[in-house]
């Protein structure tokens, strides 16, 4: 089970309230992001620190970027045509928080 599988299982659970789902999403997110080995690089940037608080992931690093990067309500993976996880709707994903951070950085 990847973090995305856990995420989608919560998403599909009709017995949970929105707030209960959000709490579980936060737990899954924290587990996934805090397991990332530091430091790592996104292009020319070095990522040196990750902190998770509720629905927020704070990312700090070294390089030309408006640090810190703060991600709100972010997923634990990104959609990717060549992804390794397939969602029920048929979309394919890459289950890796590093890719989420990379995507956010590249969107700025």
């Amino acid at each position: 089970m990847t973090a995305l599988d856990d995420w989608w299982a919560v998403e599909a659970d009709q017995s949970l309230t929105d707030s209960e789902k959000q709490a579980l999403f936060n737990d899954i997110r924290a587990t996934a992001f805090l397991a990332v080995q530091l430091p790592f690089y996104v292009d020319a940037l070095q990522i040196t620190r990750i902190e998770v608080a509720g629905n927020r992931v704070d990312v700090s690093g070294v390089g030309d970027f408006s640090w810190p990067l703060r991600i709100y309500n972010g997923p634990v993976g990104v959609t990717d045509p060549d992804g390794n996880v397939t969602k029920a709707d048929g979309s394919t994903w890459y289950s890796d928080p590093i890719e989420v951070i990379a995507q956010c950085i590249r969107s700025a």
Binding site: L69, R70, S91, C104, S107, A108
Partner: protein, 525 residues
């Protein structure tokens, strides 16, 4: 500076062209009258209800219907289901149970001199209930459709009346196997603006529903006092259905023929984490294409507008929040636009090029709501072919990237500065006293360095003359001691000459010793 990436919290797609039963007809009608749609509501002009037990049901309008009005006739029979016909009218739905009940509905576009008397034809004479209604406004431009065809419902006290995204419509139920004593119509899902009862007997009920506007899953329910088998139907003018298609996602755009993925889409982002005092220097919206299919308009840009002032209802609502007319869209601020014919691949995210106005349209400290629409939806100038886009229906697949500063307490700092200024007259005295003390202390290290340097040279030199003078004084004061002491201490041969008139006095117990080659010469006396 900080970069905040905020994933979508909710979204909503509304397809104003999609009908429940005959979407193509509805789409084409709305397409042809797009600019007048929504600004002209469906309005009920009058209605008449009649009952009887003859072969041919009949009812009479209180006045001649206006030319172009849409006329609806609902016929409910409680003891037969033989075919009902209405000359010059179009049947929208008709069904029942043999020998027990029948629910039928017809419609007609009123002519220039429309008769007030409406008559239906049956094969047999049994009890009937007939309601005729005249609708104007948007109804003069769009034909009504069967939203839920006449269908048999098993014996129950709860009868659902679906009315997805309906502007205005008529619902009816009928039974024939004993009365239901009471029948109450109420909203179970969604929110209806009004429920008007046209006919109410213990065997037949015909009512109007207005205002299923924003509900994709609106539902009314008849609650009966006694469980009965019934036939129920719904007709009317639908709009504002969801533009969601499974796997395809939410659709937006306009088409003359394709009615499944059209409309407009609203997005909500929780930007309360961006303090109002911050300065936003960049904002970008990233949107993801549908999971299994991707459509993008070839001749229309896909534009993003700020609708922050209007909450996007997550569930049923009578307030139209997403779908906007060309005039309404033109009045909005465009914050981003992606050119016609841009690349668009399934399951892929794309950053929408931002307009300069985007940064000032981020609703800092609150929620930012954006509307996605096509150029022709803004201008009302139609391309003539399907111009639509589909996006993922998962709100969290879309995100806002905002670069902003982090001076979250700027107002507080300003207040503090003002207070300090007011104390300046008193601070100078305090500072002056402190400055003196501080200045003295600050020079200590300087002296220390000077002394350290002087220790190696100046102080030593300055004391040398002082020692020299002390020695000189001593020599000058006690010369005899020097002359006497030194020769004997060294024990070298010395000659002590006593010149003329010199006297050597040996005091009591003194001894004069002449050792070795010593000579004592005494002058001749």
């Amino acid at each position: 500076m900080t970069t905040s990436v905020i994933y979508g919290s909710s979204m909503r797609g509304q397809n104003i062209q999609l009908g429940s039963v005959d979407p193509i007809t509805t789409a084409a009608t709305i397409y042809a009258n797009l600019t007048s749609f929504l600004t002209t509501k469906v309005t009920r002009t009058r209605f008449t209800n009649a009952t009887g037990s003859t072969t041919n049901p009949t009812a009479t309008f209180s006045a001649t219907p206006a030319n172009g009005s849409a006329l609806i006739a609902v016929i409910l029979r409680t003891a037969d289901n033989t075919t009902t016909t209405m000359t010059g009218w179009t049947q929208l739905s008709n069904a029942g149970s043999a020998g027990v009940r029948q629910a039928a509905v017809f419609w007609k576009r009123a002519g220039a001199s429309e008769p007030t008397v409406v008559t239906a034809t049956n094969a047999t004479a049994t009890a009937w209930n007939m309601t005729i209604i005249e609708y104007g406004g948007w109804a003069t431009l769009a034909d009504p459709v069967s939203i839920s065809a006449s269908a048999t419902v098993a014996s129950t006290t709860s009868i659902s009346v679906p009315g997805t995204g309906m502007q205005a419509g008529v619902c009816a139920i009928v039974t024939g196997a004993g009365s239901w004593t009471t029948a109450t119509l109420s909203t179970t899902t969604g929110s209806n603006a009004s429920l008007t009862q046209f006919a109410a007997t213990t065997l037949a009920n015909c009512s109007e529903i207005v205002g299923y506007n924003n509900s994709e899953d609106a539902l009314c329910t008849y609650t009966l006092g006694t469980a009965r088998a019934t036939n129920r139907l719904v007709v009317g003018w639908p709009h504002n259905t969801s533009s969601l298609v499974a796997g395809f996602g939410f659709g937006a755009g306009i088409s003359t023929t394709n009615a499944t993925s059209l409309g407009q889409i609203g997005f909500e982002f929780d930007t309360s984490t961006i303090p109002a005092a911050n300065t936003v220097s960049a904002a970008t919206l990233t949107i993801k294409a549908g999971a299994t299919f991707a459509a993008y308009p070839s001749a229309n840009a896909v534009e993003i507008f700020n609708i922050s002032s209007t909450a996007i209802a997550k569930t049923a609502s009578n307030t139209r929040t997403v779908w906007r007319t060309p005039t309404e869209i033109t009045a909005l601020t465009k914050v981003a636009s992606r050119p016609a014919g841009s690349a668009y691949v399934i399951n892929t995210q794309y950053a929408w090029p931002s307009e300069a106005a985007f940064i000032s349209n981020i609703n800092q400290g609150s929620t930012t709501r954006l509307l996605l629409a096509t150029t022709e939806q803004r201008t009302g100038s139609l391309t003539g072919s399907a111009q639509n886009i589909n996006v993922s229906d998962t709100a969290g697949d879309h995100f806002l990237t905002i670069v902003h500063d982090r001076l979250v307490t700027i107002p507080t700092v300003s207040a503090t500065a003002t207070a300090s200024i007011s104390r300046i007259p008193s601070f100078p005295r305090t500072i002056a006293a402190a400055a003196t003390a501080t200045a003295a202390l600050s020079r200590i290290p300087g002296f220390a360095r000077t002394i350290a340097a002087a220790v190696d040279a100046s102080p030593t030199l300055s004391r040398i003359p002082s020692f020299a003078r002390t020695i000189a004084a001593s020599v000058a004061a006690v010369p005899a001691i020097v002359a006497t002491y030194q020769p004997f201490l060294v024990q070298l041969p010395r000659i002590l000459r006593l010149a003329g008139r010199s006297t050597v006095t040996l005091v009591t117990q003194s001894t004069l010793r002449l050792l070795g080659r010593s000579t004592l010469k005494l002058p001749k006396e």
